[in-house]
């Protein structure tokens, strides 16, 4: 192994175990959790202003959720054995929860909620379309074509219930990742009760930012007017969530500096040298402080709509970069220093390898491809809602 090592590392520690794909995974599930929380703002907390993004947020969550297991499978030494997590989950392991939490969230929460909200559209599309699409929609109706007002009302109430269950489920889906790191006592960079909470709040920021950016982009592409009341409300929630996230991260930092335990000198040195760019510059300054200043400006100063849109776009993009950097600093940073606190190694990221940068880039683009397909299949725009056929009232019953 020709990896440059400074100081001393235990011989087996020199090679990193978890690669950029493991950085990507919490980023993707974070977007899922954040997008879902934004959707739940409308459904459960009755924040009407964000209604235009409701369906888009659900589809975004689904697109990212479908891609989320891929970096994990590509990282495993034996992906063909991953089903063992369903056969013999080890209840003392946080990672064993993954299979069930993921399946629960995908099937019982997200797919059911999307199905309930889109059911009327699906039934109508099953009647209006032809070919393979018609077959697909007919399968999705599960054989029931009842879209009477009362059945839709039942759907509405069921959907509300699913969303209520979905909020803690979304917390669990992403929180357990933070717990996987936070519960490793062997690694002082990870081991902290704050870890799941910080992961969750940064996830919410990233998800909200992603949906906001997607909504603005797609609305412009469809040559429609952006609903300013909607994006203003979303930006406000993003700002508050980010403030909480930033406070938690600063609390972790201050606590470490103050307590200065045996790991502190080694970690401090690492942050000032190997992680300087990704942690101080990218995560904190460009990725958190700058978006917070930008968003705070829109909250205190009265600015025109086009200026606000520009600020939201910049703040959203910077936040996503900052939150990816946070995942990088946690996962990669936690493996750069020796558990002897006497040395450091280097992460050699391949490009066209199974766990290389190209793979990570492809997996980041893939959810947008899925989203494009989902938007085509289940259009989230109010004006795209299929109109019932003339004699539809007779067809349902």
């Amino acid at each position: 192994m020709q990896v440059p090592v400074e100081g001393f590392m235990y011989p087996n520690e020199v090679e990193l175990q978890w690669s950029v794909l493991i950085v990507l995974y919490p980023f993707l599930t974070g977007l899922v959790a954040g997008a879902f929380i934004l959707a739940s703002l409308e459904r459960v907390f009755r924040v009407d202003a964000v209604k235009p993004t409701y369906r888009l947020a659900l589809l975004t969550a689904l697109a990212f959720l479908l891609v989320a297991p891929m970096p994990l499978q590509l990282h495993l030494g034996h992906p063909e054995r991953s089903f063992e997590m369903y056969l013999t989950p080890h209840r003392s392991s946080a990672m064993a929860m993954f299979g069930f939490v993921y399946l629960w969230y995908l099937l019982a929460v997200l797919l059911v909620e999307i199905w309930l909200d889109y059911r009327r559209d699906i039934v109508l599309l099953a009647q209006n379309t032809t070919g393979w699409r018609r077959l697909l929609y007919r399968v999705l109706t599960l054989g029931s074509t009842n879209i009477s007002p009362h059945s839709l009302e039942i759907d509405e109430r069921a959907g509300w219930l699913i969303t209520v269950i979905g909020i803690p489920s979304a917390f669990l889906l992403h929180g357990y990742v933070g717990f996987i790191f936070g519960s490793v006592k062997a690694n002082p960079w990870w081991s902290s009760p704050l870890m799941p909470v910080v992961f969750l709040f940064s996830a919410m920021v990233s998800g909200i930012a992603a949906v906001m950016l997607l909504y603005m982009l797609l609305t412009v592409m469809r040559r429609q007017a952006i609903d300013m009341r909607c994006v203003d409300t979303i930006a406000k929630y993003m700002f508050y969530t980010f403030l909480i996230d930033f406070s938690l991260e600063m609390l972790d930092l201050v606590h470490r500096i103050y307590e200065a335990d045996e790991s502190f000198r080694s970690l401090d040195f690492m942050v000032h040298t190997k992680l300087y760019f990704s942690h101080i510059v990218l995560q904190i300054l460009i990725g958190t402080v700058l978006p917070l200043i930008l968003l705070a400006t829109t909250q205190v100063v009265k600015l025109g709509a086009s200026t606000r849109k520009q600020i939201y776009t910049i703040a959203g993009c910077l936040s996503l970069i900052g939150i990816f950097a946070m995942r990088w600093n946690v996962v990669i940073g936690g493996q750069l220093f020796s558990k002897s606190f006497l040395g450091y190694t280097t992460y050699k990221m391949g490009f066209v390898t199974r766990e290389g940068l190209l793979t990570a880039i492809i997996l980041t683009i893939l959810p947008f491809v899925f989203l494009w397909a989902l938007v085509k299949l289940l259009p989230p725009w109010p004006e795209s809602s299929p109109a019932p056929l003339a004699d539809a009232s007779a067809a349902g019953d």
């Binding site: 369903y86 056969l87 080890h90 009842n146």
Partner: protein, 158 residues
């Protein structure tokens, strides 16, 4: 009844879930390894599989069964606690087939300094020399008998 008819699609959904769950349980019962869980949350047969791995070092007991004369010499000298394979390498194959598998000849200029080359971190009481100074390049076994290395004429016990 009208209420039930309007909620019928939910019952269909529930039926799909139930079918999936039952299928999972059935498939699971075939796939979980038989010995899993016997002693704990693991496949008990793995213990036996690991215990059955092949052996490379025979252990000094096996050497002593045949080479008791060498053992006699060694037991009176400073190398009495050094096991045979420590210098001669893994010899399980030799023990299985002593006739055809013979241990390789050892090069003392490489072998002995591994332990006896002086190093500041070695215990002070451990016999160590700087190999180049000590022998001027001569092989260690030109003066020392490896099985009982101390030279009697130099004042050491034999």
């Amino acid at each position: 009844m009208k209420s039930f008819k309007d909620a019928e699609h939910l019952f269909r959904l529930a039926a799909v879930f139930l079918a999936g769950f039952i299928l999972f349980l059935v498939v699971r019962s075939f796939l979980v390894p038989r010995s899993f869980g016997r002693y704990g949350h693991y496949r008990a047969n793995a213990i036996g599989e690991i215990a059955a791995l092949p052996i490379s070092y025979a252990g000094h007991q096996a050497c002593e069964n045949c080479h008791s004369d060498i053992v006699d010499v060694k037991s009176k000298g400073m190398h009495k606690t050094v096991n045979c394979e420590s210098c001669h390498g893994p010899q399980a194959k030799h023990v299985d087939d002593p006739g055809s598998v013979t241990p390789a000849k050892l090069d003392t200029t490489v072998l002995c300094p591994r332990c006896h080359q002086a190093n500041i971190a070695k215990p002070k009481t451990f016999p160590q020399v700087d190999a180049a100074d000590h022998s001027g390049g001569a092989a260690c076994n030109s003066c020392h008998q490896p099985h009982s290395p101390v030279i009697a004429s130099a004042g050491g016990a034999q």
